[in-house]
Amino acid sequence: MYKYDEYDHAMVDARVAEFSDQVRRRLAGEITEDQFKPLRLMNGLYLQLHAYMLRVAVPYGTLDSRQMHMLAHIARKYDRDYGHFTTRQNIQYNWIKLEDAPAILEDLASVEMHAIQTSGNCIRNISSDQWAGAAADEITDPRPWAELLRQWSSFHPEFSYLPRKFKIAVIAAEEDRAAMRLHDIGIQLVEKDGVHGAAFYVGGGMGRTPMIAPLIKEFVPLEDMLSYAEACLRVYNRYGRRDNIYKARIKILIHELGADEYRRQVEEEFAHVKSLGIDPPKAEFDRIAAQFAMPPLDASAPDAIDRSDPDFAVWVDQNVAKHKVSGHAIVNISLKPVDGIPGDASSAQIDLMADLAEKYSHDELRVTHAQNIVLPHVRKADLYAVWQALDAAGLATPNLDLISDIIACPGLDYCSLANARSIPVAQKIAKRFADPVRQRDLGELKLKISGCINACGHHHAGHIGILGVDRKGTENYQLSLGGSGAEDVSLGTITGPGFDEDGVVDAIERVTDKYLETRTEGERFVDTFRRVGMAPFKEAIYG
């Protein structure tokens, strides 16, 4: 894990001092809300329905137990005893007081955390593969590159007033667990002739105009990665649309210019930017990479798992993934119990997960874009003890990637932008499909719910997606099928007219029944949908 040095500490401390001063000036009336808003947003502080909301960055989703305990402490001391893990691997607190914000940022800084650039029209928290450093299928650990990007993008003087927000993801495996091509820049570390480089996908995103990022450059030498990113951003900062907030993301610029013309402009800018010496030398990368070294795992640890407890065995099959070191496993903790709120965890649960990380996972945790938590380095021999502790805390729901592992935005229960509630719909679906045997029979089925067109709940990328809209003052839900945020990335197609809350749950059941009736051996829902198309599902839904 990356540890701050004196420079990193000084940067974050300066930011805390700066924001404390800005809060003071706001409370004293020296600045207006209009002037304060972009400043508080760049520190992750929103004004939501019920209170201020603070979004804390979890860079590339990686945390140690001390940091996780601090998240619990903040929930307990300044909020209402819980936090909400987000699709960008961050955590949000829903009940923050403006006057407490400086103290919270100080507490975060004491454990090398911050809320810098978690909102605003700037480069946001860099996201990554939640299994980075542990995944059996990665070519390298993407996190050192994500950390280099974090430092380059933090307080970037040229790119803090972009046309719109800017999200970057970095992965290093063929399997895409970070929705890489639905980011403004998606970087995939690739290997060519034994050398690693960065494939740049630029101009993806969800929102009201979802787009899959086209490949802009197949192989950027890693020593040029930041310069290439700088060139991509400069073209966007200069030419991205500023006349219409809904057309201001880079995806619209690239769509309007065409990928070829955008690439040409970036290459031209890159030829110049490359001469500026923006990329640090290899020694700096090596300094960072050394801190992400694999913890000392014993490869001779026993590989067998005692599956005599059937409930445990179900959980192992569903929530435990293959680790690159023999005798070890990746534990995925579902924050999606039936009746729960997707992504929410209480202070006590957060503390427990921190304790388990310290004891069983070499002090490491991850936050996933699907709003779950990961213990990345667990000995197989310890899995049963981990499961027992999780089970006792309501954290052992065996539903990873099943229909009840729902991504849902906070929706109209919390969010001032939402048009409809998301959480109650997620709860009703989870309840309808609560039978674990039924869920497992349905297999991998990624269901994602957004409470408005901004698509924070990734509905476009759901095998089944739900979008909440406001229809003449009542909540209405549109259904879409066939999206994916993974390596088989695709955008969902709307089925037809929308439904009320119960209606959409019924419609989903008709869709899954049709799938069970139509699928061939080993076919996932999304595969069946792609094979047979919308028509049979539409027929099943609307008759």
Binding site: E33, L49, A51
Partner: protein, 98 residues
């Protein structure tokens, strides 16, 4: 009726204009008639409220009821966490929102 609402500058909590001051409870909200804009400007200047706005509502025996579900959720709290609403002891409080 027309209601004036916003969030408290310091705490961010939802507040309602009572005719003389701000209250956390919508039951205290007053009909501002055509005075909304003027009160809004004065109160924002006084820094007691953040992002205030005028909404439509109706007078009911239980008190003012905002026309839009968003403001009813603001008035009560998250429907999925009754324990965190302003009426944690009233299991039927959520029905008022829908």
């Amino acid at each position: 009726m027309k209601l004036l609402t916003g969030n408290d500058l310091k705490t961010g909590f939802v507040t309602w204009w009572t005719g003389a001051d701000w209250s956390l409870h919508i039951e205290d909200a007053a009909d501002v008639g055509e005075q909304g804009e003027a009160i809004l400007a004065a109160e924002e200047g006084a820094r007691r409220v953040n992002a205030p706005y005028i909404i439509k509502g109706e007078a009911t025996p239980e008190g003012p009821r905002p026309a839009h579900i968003k403001d009813r959720i603001r008035a009560l709290g998250p429907t999925v966490r009754p324990d965190l609403t302003l009426k944690p002891a009233d299991p039927a409080a959520g029905d008022w929102v829908i």
